[in-house]
């Protein structure tokens, strides 16, 4: 075997980790062509989880969105909901982006078909914002990112659906929804806790549409 490979591997790993850390900590909204793309998994983000049950059996949630910044890879507070700090927000199966009638930012989105890792660039056109006629990421089974299976009552991400996101400050990201339940069950059990979203995303900090 080539011994140089073993030597260079730790160095490479450190370099990748450093670039991840820097980009993850970067909260600036300016375009910096020198930065590398950010690849993250967000695990079990609460999306208005069920807090209890009404006497008639209906589950009760707080009815609030969880606001997330793709740029800084962090959950924001409810106080940030009217700012341009957040890019995307989750409530149950509903996803909104910071723009249109959902927020003050320049955010937009679209859903495309494809294999997540094969999507190398954000599309030129086709961007829509949340509005009166619906969300940029359509709600409802089969319309946006998930399907609902009546036989098992399961909410499952649709394979091959990639959520293209324009952040509040006009940069681009792609998202692959992974799971809707705690513990990431492949097939949820009746006692699986729903409304915990897990997703992978790639964010391009340099302002270009490329994810390479």
């Amino acid at each position: 075997m080539d011994s140089t490979m073993f030597k260079s591997l730790p160095t490479l790993t450190i370099a990748i980790l450093l670039s991840f850390m820097f980009s993850a900590c970067d909260s600036s909204t300016s375009v910096d062509p020198g930065e590398d793309v950010v690849s993250q998994r967000v695990l079990e983000l609460p999306a208005d989880p069920i807090t209890g049950f009404a006497p008639d059996g209906r589950p009760i949630g707080a009815g609030i969105f969880t606001y997330y910044s793709l740029r800084s890879n962090e959950v924001l507070t409810q106080a940030d909901s009217s700012s341009t700090a957040w890019d995307i927000a989750f409530k149950g199966t509903t996803i909104i982006v910071n723009g249109g009638n959902s927020g003050p930012g320049n955010g937009a989105a679209q859903v495309i078909n494809g294999v997540f890792s094969d999507v190398m660039a954000a599309p030129e056109g086709g961007w829509t914002q949340d509005g009166e006629n619906g969300k940029a990421i359509p709600v409802g089974s089969g319309n946006g990112w998930y399907n609902y299976e009546p036989a098992t009552n399961a909410i499952t991400p649709i394979p091959g659906r990639v959520l293209m996101i324009r952040t509040a400050d006009g940069r681009f990201a792609k998202i692959s929804m992974i799971n809707y339940y705690k513990g990431l069950p492949e097939v949820p059990a009746p006692d699986s806790q729903s409304r915990y979203v897990t997703f992978d995303y790639v964010f391009q900090p340099d302002g270009s549409k490329s994810f390479e």
Binding site: G57, N113, G140, T152, I158, P159, S176
Partner: protein, 713 residues
């Protein structure tokens, strides 16, 4: 709740499959050696009625006129009373499940899947008149007793050209018994596992010009429980009463009048409930169902060429479901009325043409608690004509066409053509091209049904938008699964079907039937979940699912090894696929996910429509010992794996964990008659005790039964 990889059931299924294979190979070996055993007992035509093809059986369903089974141009299968009795089968659903190409399916009741179609595409008739009362599209065949019928006729492929709506996959006609003896009476009693009991009485009398027969049957069960940790029974207990009568009189030598009447009543009770954060909530549920029908028929033989029939039919079906919970009592009621008047003229022209022409009016009404205005009604006016040509002995042509004019759907034309070639011997080749249609039912249009037990809601297509909005206003929508503004009008479903079959004797012991079918269906109506309710159940409505096809091969080999032993093997190969899904796959728009990685599907990954088994088969063994008057019937039915539901988010059947493992069910019945007056019967249903509470809750495991019947005449 759902665990496909449960090791126990997996092993059981495997053992069963191996057992089935073993039994099959045993039977096949037996087939191979039996001719040697049988060669000294050449008997000519068999006496056992299992060999229906050998008997001069007359059938009516395929052509709406009496014709011998051997000469009917449309493939027809007949199950006769004697055969049904010896199998010890009580309900129509159980009888049909033992036939090849007919799979028992459960969706709001027991139905039969025919040519890959759900049960709602098969028209069910009693003495030629439709049975009404479908729930979720299924006409529950457990409602229909087969203990007092003369025969069951099964016609596969569309017959809309004679019967109109619903006769898309096929037609099943129950012909009730007529009085034949001066005085006669039967009484029978049977007990079975799960506290299931069946009691029946019948009596008949025939004089020169009038015959009357009546039957009463009480069928009850304590129910069964497959999942002890779930509150309530898996199969609730019930009591069913059925009363039927048939009167026929010859008013003059040329005019005869017949009357068939039926009244059935079912009461079902259960306690249901669920565990909510450690607190058990239970409810008492009571479901009542009642239906009656009255069918007079007057036939007038004007002369040797002309015969006229006047037929009337009135029927009503009603259900009431009462749920008692801590908050009070809620009742859901449904009532459907059906009235029909029809006239048919049969004309014989020379030796080579037989023409039937008819027409009529159907008026239907539905009343239900939550239908807007409480009641809806519509009317169908129709006319049909059929020509049966016999140009030469070896050839027979049949053409038919029907025109339906419906209050809501306008005019619908259904043509069909069939041809039969006969050889000098027993060979018959039958080919047909026909159309079938199914108008959206009342339920599909106007239904607003919430099952208080399971908690799901079904709303008709016409009222879907408003009904879902109402639920939303009541806080009964947790999440929308389909954009509620997208609901639009609904069309009749229609099909173009091709059927080709051949019947022939390989030897005088072996009879073979081989059939091929292809159905191209468009605007197929399917239930679609449009929203999820807070209780985790769904709100469904009906939509036109554009195009599907079903195609397959059905074969049946009947083997009379000796005069006293016969064997029937049936097999069906089926493919049923959604053409829209195939198109989407072709366009590269369908993906799947495995181990967290997405990939594009190709055509070969697609398993087709849910709940269709690619392979299914049946085995029937009939053995009798004439000297001791013993009769043994062993029947097995098996099906290969079938899709249950989507698990990887693409809504189509493509992954191995989306299938229910194949299984088989075997039933055995032993009958002993004493001086043809007394019949003692014992048997085991589901001999190997196959159970699958998750996916096949309708099977309650092994059941023993024993019964006694007594007849005088």
């Amino acid at each position: 709740m759902i665990d496909m990889n449960d090791s126990n059931s997996g092993i059981n299924a495997e053992v069963l499959t191996q057992l089935s294979r073993f039994l099959l190979s045993l039977l096949l070996t037996f087939c191979a050696i039996a001719p040697a055993l049988a060669q000294n007992s050449e008997t000519g035509s068999a006496k056992d009625s299992l060999w229906t093809i050998e008997l001069p059986v007359m059938v009516v369903t395929a052509t709406k006129s009496e014709i011998s089974l051997r000469d009917v141009p449309i493939p027809t299968k007949v199950l006769l009373a004697d055969q049904i009795k010896k199998r010890g089968v009580l309900r129509l659903s159980d009888l049909l499940a033992e036939e090849p190409g007919m799979l028992q399916v459960h969706y709001f009741g027991s139905g039969i899947q025919l040519q890959g179609f759900d049960s709602e595409y098969t028209l069910i008739l009693i003495d030629g008149q439709p049975v009404v009362g479908r729930n979720g599209g299924t006409l529950d065949l457990d409602r229909l007793s087969v203990s007092d019928i003369e025969s069951v006729e099964i016609v596969q492929g569309p017959s809309s050209s004679l019967y109109g709506s619903e006769a898309l996959a096929g037609v099943i006609n129950l012909r009730s018994k007529r009085a034949v003896s001066t005085w006669g009476a039967d009484a029978s009693y049977r007990v079975q596992t799960n506290g299931t009991r069946n009691t029946s009485f019948s009596g008949e009398s025939r004089r020169d010009w009038v015959g009357i027969r009546f039957n009463y049957e009480r069928f009850e069960s304590d129910g069964y429980d497959l999942s002890k940790d779930v509150i309530g029974l898996t199969g609730p207990g019930f009591t069913t009463h059925t009363f039927s009568t048939r009167i026929d009189t010859d008013l003059t030598p040329k005019v005869s009048l017949g009357l068939t009447a039926r009244l059935a009543d079912e009461n079902q009770t259960n306690t249901i409930g669920f565990d909510q954060s450690g607190v058990q909530l239970t409810f008492d549920e009571k479901a009542d169902q009642r239906d009656w029908s009255l069918s007079p028929e007057l036939s007038w033989r004007i002369n040797t060429q002309n015969k006229v029939f006047f037929r009337g039919h009135a029927s009503e079906f009603e259900t009431q479901s009462v749920l008692v919970d801590p908050g009070g009592t809620s009742t859901i009621a449904f009532n459907q009325e059906y009235r029909k008047a029809e006239i048919q003229h049969d004309l014989v022209l020379g030796n080579s043409l037989f023409v039937s022409t008819g027409g009529g009016v159907i008026s239907e009404q539905v009343r239900a608690d939550r239908i807007a205005g409480d009641s809806r009604s519509n009317e169908t006016t129709y006319a049909y004509t059929q020509q049966q040509w016999f140009p030469v002995d070896a050839l027979q042509l049949t053409t038919s066409v029907r025109l339906d004019n419906h209050t809501d759907y306008g005019t619908w034309l259904s043509p069909k053509g069939a041809v039969m070639f006969k050889s000098q011997g027993s060979t018959r080749i039958r080919a047909s091209v026909g159309t079938g249609f199914k108008a959206p039912s009342f339920q599909q249009l106007y239904m607003d049904f919430t099952n208080a037990v399971a908690g799901y809601t079904v709303v008709g297509a016409a009222d879907a938008s408003s009904a879902v909005q109402n639920l939303d206003d009541l806080g009964q929508i947790q999440v929308y699964l389909t954009d509620p503004t997208s609901f639009s009008g609904i069309l009749p479903e229609s099909s173009l079907a091709f059927n080709l079959s051949s019947d022939f004797d390989v030897t005088s012991y072996v009879h073979v039937h081989v059939g091929l079918f292809r159905n191209n269906v468009k605007d197929l109506i399917e239930t679609l979940p449009v929203a999820a309710k807070p209780n985790g159940q769904n709100v469904f409505t009906y939509v036109n699912l554009n195009r599907i096809y079903t195609q397959g091969l059905t074969t049946e080999i009947r083997y009379q090894t000796t005069e006293n032993l016969s064997l029937t093997l049936g097999y069906q190969l089926l493919e049923a696929k959604d053409r829209n899904v195939l198109d989407e796959i072709e366009r590269g728009n369908v993906f799947s996910r495995r181990n967290g990685k997405d990939f594009r599907l190709d055509r070969s990954d697609y398993g087709g429509l849910m709940n269709r088994s690619r392979h299914s088969g049946t085995v029937q063994i009939a053995y009798r010992l004439p000297e001791s008057q013993l009769d043994v019937r062993i029947r097995g039915s098996m099906r290969s794996r079938y899709g249950f539901g989507d698990r990887n988010g693409n809504l189509i059947l493509d992954a191995d964990n989306e299938y229910v493992a194949g299984y088989s069910v075997w039933n055995a019945t032993l009958s002993k008659s004493i001086r043809s007056r007394i019949l003692i019967q014992s048997g085991i249903n589901n001999l190997f005790g196959y159970k699958n509470p998750e996916f096949v809750p309708s099977l309650s495991g092994r059941q023993f039964f024993t019964g006694l019947s007594f007849s005088i005449n």
